[in-house]
C-alpha cells in the first residue's frame, strides 16, 4: 500500500496505518537522537515525544508526501527541547589554525570511533544536531534550516564552525606507535 494511502488512513485514526508508516523510521531516528543527545535514554524520550506528537497532530498534515520529513523534524526538535530543558552547558573548543606539516595523520585519527565520539561531544547540541541532520539523516541544508527555524546562512555558518571544531578536537589527539616485530623460531 503506498505511503499516501497510509497517511490518509492514519489521519483518520487508523493506528495500524500509522505504525506501518512510522515503524520503518524508528531505528534511524533513534540512532539520530542518540547521536544528538549522546544518551540512549534521553534519545528514547525524544523519539517517544516526537512520535506522540506525530500521531496527535497527524490530522493537521496537509501534504502526505512530506510525512517522512515532518516526522524527522518532530524528533529532532524533541531532541533540542530536551537539551533546553536540561540546560546543559556545552564545552566549546577554541578554533585554532592547524599546522599541516606536523601532527598526526587526520585520516588515521578519525578512524578511531572514540576520537569521533569525543569530537561530537564537544559540540553544542544545536550544532551537533545540524551535523547529524545533514550528514546522518541526509537532510539538505534548507530543510535543516527550516526544521530548526533559523536562516539558511546561519545554518551553513554553524555547520562550517562545527566541522572546524571537530577537526580541532580530532587534531588534539596523539597517534599510536607501531608494534614491534613478532618473535618466532629462527630460520
Amino acid at each position: 500500500m503506498d505511503q499516501r494511502n497510509l497517511v490518509e488512513r492514519a489521519k483518520r485514526g487508523d493506528h495500524d496505518a500509522f505504525e506501518a508508516l512510522a515503524g520503518p523510521a524508528v531505528s534511524r531516528l533513534d540512532a539520530a537522537a542518540r547521536l544528538i543527545l549522546r544518551d540512549p535514554e534521553l534519545a528514547r524520550d525524544a523519539v517517544q515525544e516526537g512520535f506522540i506528537r506525530a500521531w496527535r497532530n497527524l490530522p493537521a498534515l496537509r501534504d502526505p508526501d512530506r510525512f517522512d520529513a515532518w516526522l524527522r523534524r518532530l524528533v529532532v526538535n524533541s531532541c533540542l527541547d530536551i537539551t533546553r530543558r536540561r540546560r546543559r552547558r556545552a564545552i566549546e573548543v577554541e578554533l585554532s589554525p592547524l599546522d599541516s606539516s606536523a601532527g598526526p595523520d587526520i585520516a588515521t585519527l578519525i578512524a578511531d570511533r572514540d576520537v569521533l565520539d569525543s569530537a561530537l561531544r564537544h559540540l553544542e547540541p544545536e550544532w551537533r544536531a545540524i551535523v547529524v541532520m545533514h550528514y546522518f539523516l541526509g537532510m539538505p541544508l534548507p530543510e535543516v534550516a527550516a526544521s530548526l527555524g533559523i536562516p539558511l546562512g546561519t545554518t551553513k555558518s554553524r555547520l562550517h564552525r562545527s566541522l572546524g571544531a571537530m577537526r580541532a578536537s580530532i587534531a588534539a589527539e596523539e597517534t599510536h606507535p607501531n608494534a614491534p616485530f613478532l618473535e618466532g623460531r629462527p630460520a
Binding site: 500509522f18 547521536l35 490530522p59 523534524r73 530543558r85 588515521t108 550528514y135 566541522l163 613478532l182
Partner: protein, 444 residues
C-alpha cells in the same frame, strides 16, 4: 584538505558510531501512541498554518518525579556501561593501523584460526564439507569463505560465519562459479573474487554467468543476490572503497582481458563511471589496491616498452607500471624508475598508507617488494625470492607481512612472517593452504 577528508568520511563514520538497530522500546513506543488521542483536524489551528508551527510546538513540562526516575536510570546505565566496557573487546579503528588479531586459514576442508605469536590453532568451522579460502571482515567480527558444492565440483557456495565459527550460513542459494580469478581468466594473477564490504553488511563477488564473468552484490542478512549492470564491460577484479559505498573494478571488453580500464560503481549499481578509460595499447592490469583511508588508488597498466636498442638486445615489450592517483581519478602519477623492472603491479597498501607492497620483476623473478610511497625510505626486499605466484597480507599494525611463496610449479610453500622494515623472515609454525587473512582488532 582536512575539510574534504572529514566531510567525506562523516556519513559513514556517523553510521558506524550510531550502530543503528531496532530499539528495544519499539513495541512500547506504538503502545503509547495508540493510547494517545488524535486531535480532530478542525480543532488544530496550525492546520491552516505552515507545518513548522506544528514541528515547533512547545513541550508541556513534565512532572518532577520523572527527572528523578531518569537520574536513577542514568546512574544504573553508566554503571552497567562501565562493567560492559571493561569486559568487551575494543573494536578496531574503522581503517588504518589496528591491533593484530588472529589469522584465519583453511586446511583439509576446515577453517581454523591461528595465533601468529604462539602458533596455537583453533578449528572454527569443521565437518564433512570442503571449506576454503576464508577472509576476515574489516572489523574482525566476521569470516567469509567458500564451500565446495557436492554436485558441481567447479562451483562453490559463499558462506559467512562469526569469528568463533558460529552462525554459519550460505549467502547464495545456488553454488557460484568463478570465485577465484584463476578460473575466470588464466592470464591474470590468481586471487579471491569475493570480499565483505567495510560495514560487513554486504558481499560482492565475481561469478560467471554462461561462462561470462559478472559482478554481484548480496546482503549478509539474506536478501537476494543482485547483479550489477556493467553494460558490456566484463569485470576482472574488484575492491571495495574502504570508507564509502563504491566498488572499484577492472573491466575489460574482451574475455581475455583485452581493452581493459578502471571503473567505479555504487554498491547499489548507481553512478557507474570510468576512472581510467581503456585504450588499445595501455591495458589496466587486474591488480588494484585502495589506500586504507580510501583517498588513493594504486593500479598497474601496460605501457609501450623499450625498443631493441634500449634494452641491450632484448626484444621490445610492454612494460607494466604502477600508477597512484586520487580516488576521483585525478593526479594520476606512475611510480618507480623508468629504467627499473619491466613488470610491477600493486598488491596491498600498508595499514598506515605510506608504503605499498608490490610484485616486481627484479632479476627476472616476480617477487614481493615494499616501496615507500612518500620516498622517505629504501625499498625492502625479502631474503627469499619466489619464482611464481605468491600471496600476502599485512599485519594490521603494519610491522609484518604474512607471505605464502610459490614454487615454479605453482604450489604453496611454507608461509613466512616477513619483517616489513627489513629483509628478515621466519617460517611459521603452522601449515595452511589458503590466502592469508589477518584479523583487525582494537589497538592496545
Amino acid at each position: 584538505m582536512y575539510t574534504e577528508q572529514l566531510e567525506r568520511f562523516l556519513p559513514r563514520l556517523l553510521d558506524e558510531l550510531a550502530d543503528e538497530q531496532t530499539p528495544d522500546y519499539y513495541s512500547d513506543l506504538f503502545r503509547q501512541t495508540a493510547r494517545t488521542r488524535q486531535r480532530p483536524a478542525w480543532t488544530i489551528r496550525e492546520r491552516w498554518l505552515p507545518m513548522l508551527e506544528i514541528a515547533r510546538q512547545p513541550v508541556v513540562a513534565q512532572p518532577p518525579w520523572r527527572a528523578l526516575g531518569l537520574l536513577l536510570l542514568l546512574v544504573g546505565l553508566v554503571a552497567a556501561g562501565l562493567v560492559l566496557a571493561a569486559t568487551r573487546p575494543k573494536p578496531p579503528p574503522l581503517f588504518g593501523p589496528a591491533g593484530n588479531g588472529l589469522l584465519v586459514m583453511s586446511r583439509d576442508g576446515d577453517i581454523f584460526t591461528v595465533d601468529s605469536r604462539t602458533g596455537a590453532t583453533v578449528s572454527i568451522v569443521t565437518g564433512p564439507e570442503t571449506d576454503r579460502d576464508p577472509i576476515w571482515s574489516q572489523d574482525g567480527t566476521t569470516v567469509l569463505f567458500r564451500r565446495a558444492s557436492v554436485d558441481r565440483p567447479e562451483a562453490d557456495f559463499l558462506m559467512i560465519a562469526r569469528a568463533n565459527g558460529t552462525g554459519v550460513k550460505s549467502l547464495t542459494s545456488e553454488p557460484m562459479t568463478g570465485l577465484t580469478a584463476s578460473k575466470v581468466s588464466p592470464t591474470y594473477a590468481p586471487k579471491l573474487n569475493y570480499a565483505l564490504s567495510p560495514d560487513r553488511r554486504s558481499v560482492a563477488f565475481i561469478s560467471t554467468v554462461n561462462g561470462i564473468p559478472a559482478l554481484f552484490v548480496v546482503d549478509t542478512d539474506g536478501h537476494p543476490v543482485a547483479r550489477l549492470d556493467l553494460g558490456t564491460t566484463i569485470p576482472i577484479s574488484f575492491a571495495f572503497d574502504p570508507i564509502g559505498k563504491d566498488i572499484l573494478f577492472v573491466g575489460a571488453q574482451g574475455f581475455d582481458g583485452s581493452y581493459s580500464g578502471l571503473y567505479l560503481i555504487g554498491m547499489d549499481g548507481s553512478k557507474p563511471r570510468p576512472l581510467v578509460s581503456p585504450t588499445l595499447d595501455a591495458q589496466v592490469h587486474s591488480r588494484i589496491a585502495w589506500s586504507p583511508d580510501g583517498s588513493r588508488i594504486a593500479y598497474a597498466r601496460f605501457e609501450p616498452g623499450r625498443g631493441v636498442s634500449d634494452r641491450g638486445g632484448e626484444a621490445a615489450r610492454t612494460d607494466l607500471r604502477i600508477h597512484i592517483m586520487n580516488a576521483d581519478g585525478t593526479d594520476d602519477v606512475p611510480i618507480g624508475e623508468e629504467d627499473g623492472p619491466w613488470w610491477e603491479s600493486p598488491t596491498a597498501w600498508s595499514p598506515d598508507g605510506h608504503r605499498l607492497l608490490i610484485e616486481s620483476s627484479i632479476d627476472e623473478t616476480y617477487g614481493p617488494v615494499i616501496v615507500d610511497i612518500d620516498g622517505h625510505g629504501p625499498n625492502v626486499v625479502p631474503s627469499f625470492r619466489s619464482m611464481e605466484d605468491w600471496y600476502a597480507a599485512w599485519s594490521p599494525d603494519g610491522a609484518t607481512i604474512l607471505l605464502t611463496p610459490g614454487d615454479s610449479d605453482g604450489n604453496g610453500l611454507q608461509q613466512q612472517l616477513w619483517d616489513s622494515r627489513t629483509s628478515e623472515s621466519i617460517p611459521v609454525r603452522w601449515t595452511a593452504a589458503s590466502y592469508p587473512s589477518w584479523q583487525r582488532i582494537g589497538l592496545p
